[in-house]
Symmetry: C2
Subunit: 357 residues, 2 copies
């Protein structure tokens, strides 16, 4: 198991050849169990394996990669590591890659274009075999595709979608999610509901709202436009907490009563709860609050947050699997066509919502 040779004095395939008394060719064939290994008698194999074991031989990946043009590495680009949304998704990605013996190179773009470009160059230079991008928004003119498309590196986006057949994606069904959220509130008897919508330029915002409107129309629920506010454009997760708080304060000041609040996402919901709480309004006694995402803190928040869960780990898993599948495809020179997955969200009822008496 352990390296026998100390220090960096690597033992090469030639050393194993010498030790075992065979040529390096034979050693290579045996150790890789290459097709030709069929012809090699067990006795020879044993000797070679023993020699390798004895010397603690480990093939040099650089040499291997140089020859095979494969890195066994996948790039993972996160737009903002700080976003609590990342954690579980990353775990999902990691898990898939681990199963396949791939290693992830993690890059955090800090929502900066320059960093994005620099990292992309670096990853391409490392000859990553695939790329997973974790982002809920993208730089407007996405000529990132330029590099990617021609490089024929299987790529999957998590959290936003890019129509076309070159880049795969995995997203939640936001429309269903919005529908579920309002359904929950409505079923609990809430009729005066405040809404904090997502930033206009965020791709998630529109479909989520559409789901909400669909539900409302279907059930004859009137949405009071005075109770509908929008999150500003910022990309920073903490700022959506602050904005959520601020907007809720404004909502409260209006004196237009509401018994429930539907927040764009969990961070916003946390902000709302804070504002409510500061105003002496208890959640859920005085006002129910529902979020979206089910980030980790939602479980241990006080009160625990009712929310619409994105199956984040599964999404990470799925994206990595798509990329891995793509890699296999290009290896076998099969057609690689982008997958567009849309996973179902799930209502998680906890204690921040309650039915109206």
């Amino acid at each position: 198991m352990r390296r026998a040779q100390s220090n960096g004095s690597m033992v090469t395939i030639r050393d194993v050849a010498k030790e075992s008394g065979f040529s390096s060719t034979t050693v290579s064939i045996v150790l890789n169990d290459a097709p030709l290994a069929r012809y090699i008698p067990p006795a020879t194999k044993k000797k070679i394996e023993r020699a390798a074991e004895k010397l603690g031989y480990r093939p040099n990946q650089f040499a291997r990669s140089l020859r095979s043009k494969r890195s066994h590495t996948v790039g993972v680009m996160v737009f903002d590591m700080t976003d609590p949304y990342c954690t579980l998704v990353l775990r999902g990605i990691e898990n898939s890659l681990y199963q396949a013996s791939y290693l992830p190179i993690l890059t955090d773009v800090h929502n900066e274009r320059s960093r994005f470009e620099r990292y992309l160059e670096m990853l391409l230079d490392r000859r990553i075999e695939g790329l997973v991008v974790l982002a809920n928004w993208l730089f407007l003119d996405i000529n990132l595709l330029a590099d990617l498309e021609e490089s024929s590196i299987p790529t999957a986006l998590i959290g936003c979608e890019l129509k076309g057949e070159s880049v795969s994606s995995v997203i939640v069904d936001n429309e269903v999610g919005g529908y579920l959220a309002l359904d929950h509130l409505h079923s609990l008897g809430h009729r005066k509901i405040a809404f904090i919508r997502g930033p206009k330029t965020l791709a998630d915002s529109a479909p989520r709202w559409r789901g909400i409107r669909n539900y409302a129309k279907k059930h004859g629920l009137e949405l009071d436009s005075h109770l509908i506010v929008d999150l500003p454009e910022s990309r920073d997760p903490l700022s959506s907490f602050e904005a959520g708080q601020k907007l809720t304060e404004d909502l409260i000041k209006q004196k237009r009563p509401f018994t429930a609040l539907l927040a764009f996402d969990d961070m916003t919901a946390f902000g709302a709860i804070r504002a409510l709480s500061k105003a002496g309004l208890h959640v859920p006694e005085h006002c129910s609050v529902i979020g979206f995402d089910d980030v980790a803190p939602s479980t241990f928040y006080t009160p625990p947050l009712t929310t619409v869960r994105q199956p984040m780990e599964a999404m990470g898993n799925s994206a990595a699997s798509i990329v891995l599948e793509g890699i296999k495809s290009v290896l076998e020179k099969r057609e690689v066509t982008a997958q567009h997955g849309r996973v179902a969200p799930e209502l998680v009822v906890r204690e921040s919502t309650r039915s109206l008496p």
Copy 2:
């Protein structure tokens, strides 16, 4: 900027040589600005650079690495990605590496020994130049050192310490932290204080408690042993939330009054707040709560948590810098001696504590 050649048909240094009319040797010298480049006339350089630019030449890292034996890669091992403690530390690491043009390979050990070993092998095979390990505990018999020490790969631990001169470490000064926490509570007038201590086997637990005891002794504060409880052994961050809740419930049931609670860490504090809240006790009106770590949710918790901050980003930064420095040292064949950093924690006063009337 962009790759001119499409597809994977790489342009090699020989292509540049042909295009420019010089040998590949000269091209290499010029493009790397090697010492010999002094002798090469500007005109030649220009031509070569232009040719490289025109063809969109990018050196093959595999070949480069094979020759130089360097990967420009650092391994990052996280014991549990799910721990909210990770996020900011990772960002710190990432930032340092980025400055130095190193790329991190991220591995998540899931607190499993087998995964740890497998990943370590993989990283070593990739010839990582350095290793950063993010863990608040280690497998008991740490023969991981066996592999590491002999491989002479600069390694830094974040969150726990390993005496000796082979592995560096960066930890908070837990003793000072414990002291600060109690100081805060005491200064606010609290005398009846409950304590949830860390698991016995966790290295952080003892020094944190020592700091607390020191403060108590120094200020003649008596600690009521009925109000001191211990977290069980689990390694899972969520379980420390649950345990925090459970223990606090027990504490409350005892009917032994306390006006403040000092939790081992933020997760535990969240659990305590939940228990208090369920019992109808408001934080901080009825009971102050202080945590330790200052993980991200502490800011946006309701109430925002007063806590003792570990400067996590700085710690990640520092660990990566130590490793980077170590890499430089081995390159220059200087002596590499482990650094043991102990950074100062900082009291962050928010709204989960208040002064007694």
